[in-house]
Each structure stands twice: as structure tokens, then as C-alpha cells.
Amino acid sequence: MKRHIISILIENEAGALSRVAGLFSARGYNIESLTVAATEDASLSRMTIVTSGSEEIIEQIKKQLNKLIDVVKLMELSDGEYIERELALIKLKAEGAEDREELKRLADVFRGHIVDVNSHTYVVELTGDGEKIDAFIKAVEDRCVVEVVRSGVSGIARGARHLDVSAS
């Protein structure tokens, strides 16, 4: 089952998120992550949904999303070239000079930033696609992960391709 990323523009109304979330649960579709926030146009929200399923299921998901009255525009990002990013905040146990040095080095390798420090822990801020974050967690795992907070994926198409409200 291939991973698919769907972007939608949806009317910024109360309950819009629950219409989308409810659709996925009611019809038994997979949902890996879902992010939503306002856009430059205050009347619209932008949602990025990561899901998986057969071609037929993905086709149905897109049709059912389009059928929601509040959905203005939909695009499957993964149909073309795109950029995906996810933010992770990771709290790590960091005790002893050797461990602290090692974690600092690992964070650098992954181009993360240590954004909070005390004598027992670090908080690492990391941005990238899902694989990169998975790889970092794997690299430090077992030893010292206290907690992981991930934002879920946001995505945008490369080049001129974009979600345009005015286009029919």
C-alpha cells in the first residue's frame, strides 16, 4: 500500500476538521497524519493528509473529500514532485559529559537544534521529512528518548503546481 499525501483547501468554519476526521473513521480509511491551519486567506484552512491504501481506495478518499460541502479544492501532492516537512520536538535524557557530547553531535548530524537544556535533559528540534525524523529517533533510541512530539506532515508541490481557489 503506497503512501499518499493529499492537500485540501477547506472553508475555515467550525467543525470543518471533524467533517474530515469523521469521514475517515466512518469509512474505515487509514490516516497516518493530518495537519490543519489557517492560510493567507482567513476564510480558508489548508489541510495535509497522509494516508495509504489501494489505488481504488485512494480514489474513493479523494472523491469523498471533494463531496464534503466545505472542501473548496483538493490535490494529491504525491501525484507530482513535492516537498514534505514535519517538525519534531524530542526530549532526550542527557546525563554525563560523554552522552551529552554524543547527543549534541547526533543533533548536528541531523541538522537539529538543541532548544532547551538542563542538567538532565535536552530538547532537540528537528525538521525534515518523516524518514529523517524516524532515522534520528532510531539513532538515539532506547538510550535516552523521554518523549517525542511530532507535528504531522505539511506539504507543498514543487514548481508552479498549486492549489488555486479561482481555478475550476
Binding site: 467543525g15 480514489e59 474513493q60 463531496k67
Partner: protein, 572 residues
């Protein structure tokens, strides 16, 4: 004109041309009920339970094509309405349901009669709105009617907090004649390339089949469908929801398909090489086992809802658009086509179908001393000359009505096909009778279903609705009993209902006429007598053969060519 929220609602409904509101008052809608007091442009029908309000509005909508309107209070008023909303949603019936809500400042505080109506109804509405500002009220109502009646129709809920309808807060009102929504623009015209592909595919068909559904009724495309079918000369089968769009008594009609479809319809589905689906959604009761559905067919699918296309069955030629427009376009293309159509172009296929038809799969024992339910329906057809509006509940009686009444016109057969809601028939008949005061309206029901909304006998008395209730009383929840006989080795778990009321006396106590019929020879006379009582509701308690089953039957998970037919021993 300065109006309060309650007055805006009533004035808007008048401006929208609404004839009836089906409803029940309560705390959160008292301002609205006060605003409607003393006017008679819109008639409010006071039901006895909110579920019945939604079914009555639904029956009104199905029989007229106009949206049904419901008004109920918050909390239990709204939750009682949910079954009716879900019923309308499954069958794509246009309906606007106005639910009262607790005042805005107390929403979320578990106030008296508060429930999250928007949350509860979300999965079973086409859309819903919570009105948070009186200035949005008129436009929101217009959007609700627009959404309910266009594209694939469906129910829309408008939740109105009590403070929005406060009589002391007035604002200027003008009727919003139209509404624009950037996110909602249903496609109504079929794509010309797909139309051409469809014509080519139809022209090359050796064993074609037309399968039409409720979408034809909803889009008032019966005339276009008849022209289309006759031009082509192809056999047509109709779904439970589509009955009447094409006349039952026409030669090209092979009857209903699916779980209780005819032998010839299901066999033809299984053997066809080109299937033309018109406003139908490949429901599981129609398709049977998906893996063996129309195994040799290329499929053309016409539907206004893109999400219906290739949902259950992969389609070769998808045509998104209003069935009425698409069929009109196809008819034009057929006129211009050089291919030859007509029955004479597919003689082998027709002789095969006539052969299947000769099995006479709907034949039943006509010599029985007991009243056969099939016979009762045939008599109903005879006495009403096939012109009645027939509503039904859900179960065996529903299938017999569908199989034996023979509907020749659309919007005459009113039943809960998708959700299968027992308790639908009587309140739906109220909506039908209100819309067609002089028409013959029959509610075909069972002794199980009728008890689910029997309190509406009181509403029928209040508004003088001369419905004829045809109760096929077999003292069993018949369809459950049938499944238990076939697949649970006759373990009749909870399908027998004891302590039935005396229906004749019950009807009489509500002020209606009650009849009890238990001999086959009395059925026709009793029906005549009942329909001659033009101004009275007649409750006919017809005592039928207890163990009669609905045939043919494709059991769950089996294919179209795997039907259980009436056992020969039962045919003498």
C-alpha cells in the same frame, strides 16, 4: 422589513414556497412556534413523535420532488429525528430539518435538553449548519435548501440556538433569491467524450442490459428513460428504489433485480456483455457477491455523484451528470447514430430472456385456504387499478409490494430502501396523502413494522388523512423468520411476537375504521369497501399464511446466478 429570528424563519419558508412543516414543539423552538401562530400560509402538521415528522416530510418529498421540511426542538427532539434523517440520507431525499438548540451562551454546559445535534447528525446529512448570528439566518436557510435539492439530493440540518429567534431582537430581512458557494458546484452535464464512448459501446453490445435506480426518479427523468430504453430495444431491470420510472407492465421490463429480484433480471445481469447503469449505486443488495457481479460485462455508469462511480464495482465508462440531462443527450446521439438498435438487432438475447422469463419465478400457490401475501398485493393492485401511492415498511411485505404491485409511474412507490427503516410506512403515507389529498394512498406494512410508529394514527385523525393501512399480519417478524429458516436451521430466535393488540379495536379507538380479513375470498371485497370509504382511514388487518417466504432469494454473499426459487412442492 424588520423581523425577529423566528419571524425570519417563517417568512423565509413562505418565500421559499414551503407548504408544510412537519414538527413538534418544545422549549428551544417556542419562539419559532410563536412566530408561526395565527398564519395559515404554511401548514404545520403536528406529529406524535419526531421520527414520524422526518418520515412524513420524506414521504412528501418522495411523492412530489419538493424538499420536505421538519421542525423539532433540541435534545430529544433532535435525537428522535435522527432515524428519519439517516433514512432520507441513504435514499438521497431532499429535506431541510430545523432543530432548536439551547441558547448560544450555554452551549457546551450540558444545559437542559442540550445535545450536540451537529455532531450527532454529521455522518447522516448532506451538510449541516449551526446558526451563530441572526444576520446569517436567512442566507444559511437558503444554502440549506440549495444543498438539499441540487446535485445528489439529501437532508440538511440547520441547528438554531434559542437566542437567535428571540422576539425582541429584530433585523432587516429580505429573501435571498439565490446563493453562491465556491465549494459546491455539482456537475450536471455529461462529458461529450464519455457520451460518445457509451454510444459506441452500446452499439457493439450483443447481450446488453439496462439497470436503472432511484436517481432516475429523483431527477424526474422517467420520460427520458422510457425514450432511451425504447430506442435501444434493450431489456431493463430496476432497483427497489427505481421502480415505476419505467413501466412494470412493459415488455422490455424484466422486473426488479438483486436479492429478491426476478430470475430473468438476475440471470440477465449475470450473462450480459454491456451493462448501462442509470442513477443506481451498486448497492450490496443489488450486486450480491461482488467478485462474480456481471462477470462478462463492460459497464457504463451514469450518476450525478462522482463518488458513486467505481465505489463498489469498477466502471469502464463513467458519466458524471444529472441523469435527465445525460439521457436526453444520449437520446439525441442515438437518433444521429448509424448503428441499428431495437429488439430485432439482438434476437438471440431476447429469446434467452424470454426463456428465463418462462420460469415464472413469481408464481405462488393460488389454491391455498390461507391468504397468501402475494395475493393480497395483487388484489390491492386490482382494486386501485395500479394507480395508488404505495408506502411500505421494511421486511417481507415490502418485498412483496415491490414484486407484485407493478408500478407503472415514478414517485408512486415510497419505501426505505437504503437504511431499511421499520416504522417508515405510516408517517411517510401521511406526507404523501397531504401532498395528494385526493389520491389513493396505501401503506403496506406488517404487524411488526406498524407498531414502530403506530401512534401516528392519532395524527391521521387530526388531519383527516384517509390512508388505507394494509397490514400483512403473519404473527412473525417475517424476514427475520425467513433468514432463520434458511441459514440458522429454523432456530426462530425472537422473531415471533406475542401479545399483539387487537388492531381493529385499536384503530377504532383512534376514531378510524378497523377491519379484519382472514379468508382469501374476502380480500378483494374488503379492499373495495375500504377504498370506497374515501374520507376514512381504514386499518386492514389481513391474517396471512404464517410461513410464506419471499422468492426468489439470493442469499447474502452469493452471485446473481445462484438463486433460491419457490420450491416446486409449494406450487400446486
Amino acid at each position: 422589513m424588520e423581523l425577529s429570528g423566528g419571524e425570519i424563519l417563517i417568512q423565509f419558508l413562505k418565500d421559499e414556497g414551503v407548504e408544510f412543516i412537519f414538527g413538534y414543539p418544545g422549549g428551544s423552538v417556542l419562539h419559532i412556534y410563536d412566530a408561526m401562530y395565527g398564519q395559515d400560509d404554511i401548514k404545520h402538521i403536528l406529529v406524535r413523535h419526531e421520527q414520524a415528522a422526518t418520515h412524513a416530510a420524506d414521504g412528501y418529498a418522495r411523492s412530489t420532488g419538493k424538499p420536505g421540511v421538519v421542525l423539532v426542538t433540541s435534545g430529544p427532539g433532535a435525537t428522535n429525528a435522527v432515524t428519519g434523517i439517516a433514512t432520507a440520507y441513504m435514499d438521497s431525499i431532499p429535506m431541510v430539518v430545523i432543530t432548536g438548540q439551547v441558547p448560544l451562551p450555554v452551549i457546551g454546559s450540558d444545559a437542559f435538553q442540550e445535545v450536540d445535534s451537529i455532531g450527532i447528525t454529521r455522518p447522516c446529512v448532506k451538510h449541516n449548519f449551526l446558526v451563530k448570528d441572526i444576520n446569517d439566518l436567512a442566507e444559511t436557510l437558503k444554502k440549506a435548501f440549495h444543498i438539499a435539492t441540487t446535485g445528489r439530493p439529501g437532508p440538511v440540518v440547520v441547528d438554531i440556538p434559542k437566542d437567535i429567534t428571540d422576539p425582541n431582537i429584530k433585523i432587516p430581512y429580505s429573501y435571498p433569491k439565490s446563493v453562491e458557494m465556491r465549494s459546491y458546484n455539482p456537475v450536471t452535464q455529461g462529458h461529450s467524450i464519455q457520451l460518445k464512448r457509451a454510444i459506441e459501446m452500446m452499439g457493439s453490445a450483443k447481450r446488453p442490459m439496462i439497470y436503472s435506480g432511484g436517481g432516475v426518479v429523483l431527477s424526474d427523468a422517467s420520460a427520458e428513460l422510457r425514450e432511451f430504453v425504447r430506442k435501444l430495444g434493450f431489456p431493463i431491470t430496476q432497483t427497489l428504489m427505481g421502480l415505476g420510472a419505467y413501466p412494470a407492465d412493459d415488455e422490455q421490463n424484466v422486473g426488479m433485480l438483486g436479492m429478491h429480484g426476478t430470475y430473468e433480471a438476475n440471470m440477465a445481469m449475470h450473462e450480459c456483455d454491456v451493462l448501462i447503469a442509470v442513477g443506481a449505486r451498486f448497492d450490496d443488495r443489488v450486486t450480491g457477491k461482488l467478485a462474480e457481479f456481471c462477470p462478462t460485462a463492460k459497464i457504463i455508469h451514469i450518476d450525478i455523484d462522482p463518488a458513486s462511480i467505481s465505489k463498489n464495482v469498477k466502471v469502464d465508462v463513467p458519466i458524471v451528470g444529472d441523469v435527465k440531462n445525460v439521457l436526453a443527450d444520449l437520446n439525441k446521439l442515438l437518433d444521429a447514430s448509424t448503428s441499428s438498435y431495437g429488439k430485432q438487432s439482438i434476437p438471440k438475447w431476447w429469446s434467452q430472456i424470454i426463456d428465463w422469463r418462462s420460469r415464472q419465478c413469481l408464481e405462488y400457490d393460488r389454491t391455498s385456504d390461507l391468504i397468501k401475501p402475494q395475493f393480497a398485493i395483487e388484489m390491492l393492485h386490482k382494486v386501485t387499478k395500479g394507480e395508488a401511492y404505495v408506502t411500505s415498511d421494511v421486511g417481507q411485505h415490502q418485498m412483496w409490494a415491490a414484486q407484485y404491485y407493478g408500478f407503472n409511474e415514478p414517485r408512486r412507490w415510497i419505501n426505505s430502501g437504503g437504511l431499511g427503516t421499520m416504522g417508515f410506512g405510516l408517517p411517510a403515507a401521511m406526507g404523501v396523502q397531504l401532498a395528494h389529498r385526493d389520491a389513493k394512498v396505501a401503506c403496506v406494512t406488517g404487524e411488526g413494522s406498524i407498531q414502530m410508529n403506530i401512534q401516528e394514527l392519532s395524527t391521521c385523525m387530526q388531519y383527516g388523512l384517509p390512508i388505507k393501512i394494509i397490514t400483512l399480519n403473519n404473527r412473525y417478524l417475517g424476514m427475520v423468520r425467513q433468514w432463520q429458516e434458511f441459514t440458522y436451521e429454523e432456530r426462530y430466535s425472537m422473531s415471533y411476537m406475542e401479545a399483539l393488540p387487537n388492531f381493529k379495536m385499536l384503530a377504532e379507538s383512534y376514531g378510524h375504521v378497523g377491519m379484519e380479513i382472514d379468508k382469501p375470498g374476502d380480500v378483494e371485497g374488503a379492499l373495495k369497501e375500504a377504498f370506497d370509504l374515501k374520507n376514512r382511514l381504514v386499518f386492514m388487518n389481513i391474517i396471512t399464511d404464517q410461513t410464506e417466504n419471499v422468492y426468489p432469494m439470493i442469499e447474502s454473499g452469493k452471485a446473481h446466478n445462484d438463486m433460491r426459487l419457490m420450491p416446486a412442492r409449494e406450487l400446486s
